[in-house]
Amino acid sequence: MKKLINGADTVLEESLDGFAAAHADILLLGAERKFVRRRTLKPGKVGLLSGGGSGHEPLHAGFVGRGMLDAACPGQVFTSPTPDQIIEAAEAVDTGAGVLFIVKNYEGDVMNFTMAAEMTGREVASVVTNDDVAVERSTYTTGRRGVAGTLIVEKMVGAAAEIGMPLAALKALGDEINRRTRSMGVALLPCTVPAAGRPNFTLADDEMEMGVGIHGEPGRRRVRLASADAIAEELVGAILKDLAPEPGSEVLLLVNGFGATPLIELYLMVNSAKRILEGAGITAARFLTGSYVTSLDMAGVSITVSVLDGQAKELWDAPVHTAALRWGT
């Protein structure tokens, strides 16, 4: 295991301290590092709260700030946060309009956020994201995972909250964006949880994990390493099959690196994915490219497609000022 760390036990706290110091203008760290909170709250606005296991940086703490999240609760690496973290974060950001939880669909996350919702006295609603089409036959199971599409839900719901949308409407909006959003990923190299010290799986030099999640968990199937075009075909193909957007639709294309894949490759994937979408009569009208929803030091990429309408475009374009996403005023 080759990592820039001082010891597996302190990775999370040291990294959070560095993060909070580097972005002190935007956010602050709660007591005992239970949450990261937007420095200046907007009274009367619904509090937007997300969280999950760490190891996916910049998700979620990197999206705390104006136009996006009010707070994020970082769990241990790949382990959902605990109810006390969520309860205290909710308390810290509730200015009276209630709190919306944005939760990725993992049973750990769902249960911990649910317990927190039960235990806090506040008005709370939850959006559970489940955009990962790699999970097949999901009907009678835990369902699909929430992966990179979560970022899109957080951005758009964040923009709507910023302009005063009330809790119930935000929940409905979040559910709707989630319904319009699909993702799928592939890993070229596995990741190593610091405390585990060894990779979650191993891949031969000519293998990749197709349909991988963001926790170093194995994917749909292990296949031969393929070209960027072939990978994009499979990912975009699976997404479009499931999403079935109307021909002529405009979409947001998110090409997301898993942590160890450089930008030169991600932009190359943008090129492949865009061409494939065009072939299907779909226009990528917005793009986001970078390592935003990662899996520690895993190499690989996920593609997310989110169908845009006029409102979604406006919400995407609306100003955002966080550690990891910034545009507009």
């Binding site: 296991g53 769990g75 241990q76 690496v77 790949f78 382990t79 959902s80 946060p81 605990t82 109810p83 006390d84 993992y106 049973e107 750990g108 249960m111 911990n112 649910t114 317990m115 990962d132 790699a134 999970v135 097949e136 036959r137 009678y140 199971t141 835990t142 995972r145 949880v193 405390a195 585990a196 060894r198 979650n200 799986f201 999640g213 926790h215 170093g216 968990e217 194995p218 749909r220 199937r221």
Partner: protein
């Protein structure tokens, strides 16, 4: 069964020791069909429980169990935190201070139901319920310590050929087959540690 302070402390230490000692193994199991943190999660949780000693053992058995459950909920995170935590909390709520065997049967039944509700799950889905449910059956049927521990171990083994439909392993579909469920293994370890520590024979 009435546990004195020493017995309560012994029980807590035995449970914690079983998780701390087997953390590596549980993590390996979770690496195969999960995200590789189950051993770390259970270890962190039971280390936090240990840190509440000696005060913890001063409490009555029900209060102690509730406290263990709450500590697990607040320290473990992941799927196992709420589930194992709920199990202990509900057990504490349901047990009288000096439970008879019938109380234990009823309380474990209630705790298992709470786990099912929390996890929206049933036995047969390759989760810790596949240990809890059959072991509770043996308990209800009058099985002795040996039978309980044996059933726990065998039940965990029986999860190996199962297809996961709940929990993180369900994301793998068919690929979840052929690996033991990590939560079932930890449940089995906790049960074995408990019956050994309680000298179950004597108290039933």
């Amino acid at each position: 069964m009435s546990l004195d302070r020493a017995a309560r402390e012994k029980l807590v230490r035995a449970l914690a020791a079983s998780m701390i000692e087997h953390a590596e193994e549980l993590t390996s199991l979770d690496q195969a069909i999960g995200d590789g943190d189950h051993g770390l999660n259970m270890k962190r949780g039971f280390e936090a429980v240990l840190a509440t000693l000696p005060g913890l053992a001063d409490k009555s058995l029900p209060e102690m169990l509730k406290s263990i459950g709450m500590t697990l909920v607040m320290k473990v995170g992941g799927a196992s935190g709420p589930l194992v935590g709920t199990f202990f909390m509900e057990l504490g709520k349901a047990l009288p201070e000096a439970p008879a065997r019938a109380d234990l049967v009823a309380a474990t039944d209630q705790a298992i139901n709470a786990v099912k509700t929390r996890g929206r799950s049933e036995a047969g889905q390759k989760t810790l319920l596949d240990v809890l449910v059959p072991v509770q059956g043996v308990l209800a049927g009058g099985g002795d310590a040996g039978a309980i521990a044996a059933e726990a171990a065998q039940a965990a083994d029986r999860t190996t050929p199962m297809l996961a439909t709940r929990g993180r392993a369900s994301f793998l579909g068919e690929r979840s087959i052929g690996h033991m469920d990590p939560g079932s293994r930890s449940a089995s370890l906790l049960i074995s540690a408990a019956v050994a520590a309680l000298e179950f024979e004597a108290i039933s």
